[in-house]
């Protein structure tokens, strides 16, 4: 039902609403990527924005400077993200708790500073401009707001379907085993390190998919978009929506795109609001909005049964 609503919504709405919906969908992809790292690698990754940045910049630089087609640049950018994620995973996943978080945070800062200072390629703090919509593919066009929205939606739904298939597969189960108890997992024969790196790479891949969409969507890319706060936003969305369900990150993204929009509060308060929201959700609704929704459904059914 929700999916159908997402499919027809933009047809009924104006350009600005289509923009907000697309923004929601792209953030949902990013929040999903954070939920994957939280759920499969069992780690909070404050460097997730770096994977988004690597993908966004690699694809856009290849297109703007080397004239590559979007559809050719995309797999190269995703490959780059996966390689970087695998290397970072091998380096950092032996570290526990705060050390992993700190190293990934440092990594994200390094990536951001590299982008800001490598002016010949990235145009530094001024950023890349005039990033065109993806070229037509198989007769489909993406140069309208609606067309691009559908492309983003396909990416999101693809990620959700792929992830749900993964979780049902043997690979998914072994990843869950490692998350649940990595010592036990290793002693039942699961190569723990390989699986943790795999979890991080899957999360980075999804973050990379989100990054691919970001350039053409915003038409500009600048290093200031990929600070710590971008990673924090992803965490808040994943947690607010609930990381235990596939729809959670989408709910979280919708919430965090539309609520500030409706209240139209100033962006300088945003980090503080995010922090407060994260604390409140963790304390009072650890299962997120998705968890609240299912609790409400159970309560209503009970109520209805009581009335009979």
């Amino acid at each position: 039902m929700f999916t159908i609503a997402m499919l027809i919504a933009p047809l009924l709405l104006g350009d600005y609403q289509a923009y907000l919906l697309t923004l929601t969908v792209i953030w949902a992809v990013l929040a999903l990527s954070m939920a994957i790292v939280l759920g499969l690698a069992g780690q909070i990754n404050l460097g997730q924005a770096a994977f988004v940045a690597i993908s966004a910049y690699t694809s856009s630089v290849l297109r703007l400077r080397y004239g590559l087609d979007f559809w050719l640049a995309a797999p190269i950018a995703l490959g780059a993200v996966i390689i970087v994620a695998a290397l970072m995973g091998l380096l950092t996943l032996r570290l526990r708790g705060p050390f992993f978080i700190l190293v990934m945070l440092a990594f994200a800062e390094i990536v951001r500073l590299l982008i800001a200072n490598w002016q010949d390629v990235t145009n530094g703090p001024l950023g890349l401009r005039d990033i065109a919509p993806p070229e037509p593919l198989l007769g489909l066009h993406f140069d309208t707001k609606i067309g691009f929205y559908y492309l983003s939606l396909v990416v999101l739904l693809g990620c959700m379907v792929g992830l749900s298939l993964l979780m049902r597969s043997k690979i998914g189960r072994l990843l869950i085993g490692v998350r649940e108890d990595d010592v036990l997992a290793e002693f039942v024969g699961i190569p723990v390190m390989r699986n943790k790196v795999l979890g991080l790479c899957i999360g980075a891949f999804v973050a990379g998919l989100g990054g691919l969409l970001l350039g053409p969507f915003l038409t500009i890319l600048a290093p200031s978009q990929f600070t710590l706060f971008a990673s924090v936003d992803m965490i808040v969305m994943a947690v607010v929506g609930g990381i235990a369900t596939l729809a959670g990150p989408l709910l979280g993204a919708a919430f965090l795109v539309y609520v500030p929009e409706l209240l139209s509060f100033s962006s300088e308060y945003r980090p503080a609001m995010m922090g407060a929201l994260l604390i409140l959700m963790t304390l009072f609704a650890p299962q997120g909005l998705a968890g609240l929704a299912s609790k409400l459904r159970i309560a209503l059914t009970r109520h209805a049964q009581h009335d009979e």
Binding site: K170, R173, L174, I176, G177, E180, D181, V183, L184, A185, E186, F187, V188, G189, I190, P191, V192
Partner: protein, 246 residues
């Protein structure tokens, strides 16, 4: 000590943590088909020895062999793949998965692709053996203590090990539960699995084990069948803390 029936051979392993010598030069062997108990007073180094054997951490010296395969230096997942399974003191589980999924995860980890029907059959078989068939769909983290231990055992058995290492299997159990668990250990051995266990509970060890190795202060002080061990002067001294000449 090169008995042809030896399944596991421990060759003068040692372990020191910083300056503390936890285990000094311990050798022992576990024969195929037996239940060997590893006992000793607190701080004797039995848990450390157990962890060295199972590959939890590397020894400072010496080596561990499963028949002619050297286990020392292998990662735990490689050791598991060779047919050595272990349980944990206080029991480790996959807490958010169901009981059946816990077993299933262990089966999946230890096999190449199994057809669904075969996988389900193996899970049901293990659940039946440990007597948790009724609780298959319960969440593991919410189990009662006795059921948790059984599930921990089931996870190890799901690997179909040749050698099963039990880390204090009777800890925290009342006498009746201990009897049941002892019976279970014997039933496991009767299916052809060799068992090495570390345990505090002396009566239980005496009743369940074929042979016993006694450690004290990181060294092996005695080895033999339960009757011999019960009568061994050095063992009594080690446990009672009395001087032999006093």
């Amino acid at each position: 000590m090169t008995n042809s029936a030896a399944l596991l051979r421990v060759d003068s392993i040692a372990k020191h943590f910083g300056g503390v010598q936890a285990v000094a030069d311990v050798s022992l062997q576990v024969n195929a088909g037996e239940i060997l108990g590893l006992i000793g007073p607190n701080g004797a180094g039995k848990t450390t020895t157990f962890n060295l054997i199972s590959g939890r951490f590397p020894p400072s010296g010496g080596s561990v062999w499963l028949e002619d395969v050297r286990l020392t230096g292998l990662r735990p997942d490689r050791i598991a793949a060779l047919g050595v399974a272990r349980t944990f003191q206080g029991t480790r589980l996959f807490p958010q998965l169901t009981v059946a999924e816990n077993i299933e995860t262990a089966v999946m980890a230890s096999t190449k692709r199994l057809p669904q029907a075969l996988l389900r059959e193996r899970v049901a078989q293990v659940l039946g053996f440990i007597g948790l068939g009724e609780l298959g769909s319960s969440v593991a983290g919410s189990l009662a203590y006795a059921h948790r231990s059984l599930l921990g055992l089931g996870i190890a058995l799901a690997l179909r090990p040749r050698l099963l290492l039990l880390d204090e299997p009777f800890a925290g159990m009342n006498p009746r539960e201990t009897d049941d668990a002892a019976l279970m250990v014997r039933r496991i051995r009767d299916t052809g699995v060799t068992v090495l266990l570390v345990e505090h509970d002396m009566p239980a060890v005496m009743s369940v084990c074929d042979r016993i190795v006694v450690l004290d202060q990181g060294r092996k002080i005695a080895e033999g069948n339960p009757a011999d061990i019960r009568a061994d002067r050095r063992v009594i001294e080690a446990y009672l803390g009395v001087d032999a000449d006093a």
